[in-house]
């Protein structure tokens, strides 16, 4: 797999000494992280470590307590066309009066007041994006009647409508079976290769993403580690982060994180959750 990361141009995401606290709880402190054009970065860590909050900071929905962050060279602001967002999956109601095509078009003009319908240019652009993500076969069906994987493709299509430079995905693989997980990952990988879009993905699933990601950000209880999967997912590094013994096992090409007294079956996703609280 040839690298598509473009380190020549200015980074698309740039955290410098970034700290985010909610009340008196510090989610992460002094975070330094630059994400280049075309880079695929996964954010891992136990629940409550501030993974989604990191995305919210990039969306301009949360302000840092200290330090700075830029997205595509600018301060994050709500509604920026530079950022696409695929939220944590919420399955649409089966009875919702909306087709996939309409969901996608909202990505381009859903924030516009005025006429109730989309302009022809938006409808055409939506059609092209739908083709590109391979969702044309079911784009006219009521969205609530589609499978989780189909809905996820349409959400990604919606996020791509503003032609973003950075695509933020929150747990896009949850509740998908292996085949659909691979489909979604392929789609994201293709996007960054074709368009240089930086992909930032919050996830609990380590193994499906390993063939695709360039770097991992691991957040645990206020501390963080950034590096390639081989650098971060080691017994030493994670034990240091968690402040207690954690074992990283590599079995038949799979990474298994064991720690905090949990059984491997429970902790193979994201490590010792019980330590995070």
């Amino acid at each position: 797999m040839t690298s598509v990361i473009d380190t020549e141009t200015a980074p698309l995401v740039d955290f410098r000494g970034a700290t985010l606290s909610i009340g008196d709880r510090t989610l992460w402190a002094g975070l330094d992280l630059s994400i280049a054009r075309g880079e695929f970065v996964a954010i891992l860590g136990p629940n409550g470590a501030g993974k989604t909050t990191l995305l919210k900071a990039l969306l301009g929905l949360m302000r840092l307590s200290a330090g700075s962050v830029t997205v595509a060279g600018k301060h994050p602001s709500r509604g920026s066309a530079d950022v696409g967002y695929v939220p944590q999956q919420k399955i649409f109601d089966p009875d919702l009066g909306l087709r996939g095509r309409d969901l996608v078009a909202l990505g381009a003009d859903g924030h516009r007041f005025g006429v109730p319908w989309s302009k022809r240019a938006v409808r055409q652009a939506a059609d092209e994006v739908i083709q590109a993500v391979g969702a044309h076969a079911y784009a006219d069906a009521p969205i609530g009647k589609l499978s989780g994987g189909e809905q996820q493709r349409l959400r990604i299509a919606q996020a791509l409508m503003s032609d973003p430079q950075v695509l933020l995905c929150d747990e896009p693989l949850t509740s998908l079976d292996l085949r659909h997980q691979e489909g979604v990952l392929d789609l994201l990988d293709r996007r960054r290769r074709d368009c240089g879009t930086a992909i930032v993905m919050v996830t609990h699933e380590i193994n499906p993403i390993l063939p695709f990601v360039d770097r991992i950000v691991y957040l645990v209880g206020g501390k963080w580690a950034v590096g390639t999967p081989d650098e971060v997912l080691t017994t030493e590094r994670l034990s240091q982060l968690y402040g207690s013994p954690v074992d990283v096992l590599r079995v038949r090409g799979r990474v298994i994180v064991v720690g905090g007294g949990e059984s491997p079956e429970l902790s193979h996703h994201c490590g010792p959750e019980t330590l995070s609280a």
């Binding site: 509604g79 009066g97 309409d102 859903g110 516009r112 006429v115 006219d140 659909h180």
Partner: protein
Amino acid sequence: MSDMWLMLHYSFAQHALLAATLIALTCGLVAPFVVMRDMAFAVHGTAELSFTSAVAGLLIAGDAVRGALVGSLVIATAFALLGRRPREGNTAIGVVLAFGLGLGVFLLSFYNGFASAATNILFGSLVTASTGDVLVLGGLALIVVVVMVVIFRPLLFASVDSAVASARGVPVNALSLVFLVLLALTVTEAAQVVGTLLVLSLAITPAASARRWTADPLKFVAVSVAFALIAADGGFLLSLALSDTDIKASVLIAFVSFAIYLVSVVAERLRPETGRQVSGAVA
């Protein structure tokens, strides 16, 4: 049947038909969003509480309609303030509703006027609509239609996916409040025609029926308006045709509305599933 056309020469019947049409238009327009935002209970709550404010209006100013209109704004604000977090909504409505209904009955015990004024509030009374009432309804309908058209896309976005809408810069909370106020105005209007107790038949049923025919949001709204018009005008004309039986128009409106729903459900069952050529093949 010839009675029906004859009666339409009278101004009371013309006013009533006009009022029914205006109310159906606004109800049909907001109904799809009521369904999408799962606000049936808010409609029910606003409708029942418009009874309280109508009684208050009757008591203070001798005018139920204007009392209900002012009251609906108070109610919308109360719902919005008490139910700011999404899951609190229904609980807040329940709390306000329980107190409000009690207050309405309490106020009614001070009212010494015609008892029919109170039953009109509960079951609606088209035929008493005056020129002034029709003008008020027309003004309200105009406001609701214009605002709904202008906020249509952001409201749709916020209704189907508030997280992404918010990230894309849609003022989700402000839109919620605006819609709540529009809904309160619409429901209060509808309560004049079909009465507090039957409001759901114009503010929800047309959308539930329309959804059986299409998932395209614009067609969904258009069909919903059409169904509301058929129910309201059709129900009223039926009541003229059956004028010697003394069946209230509101009852017939509710019946027609429900009949459309039944037909729509059956039609959906009979129709082959459309818009989905390949079933889950690529994902």
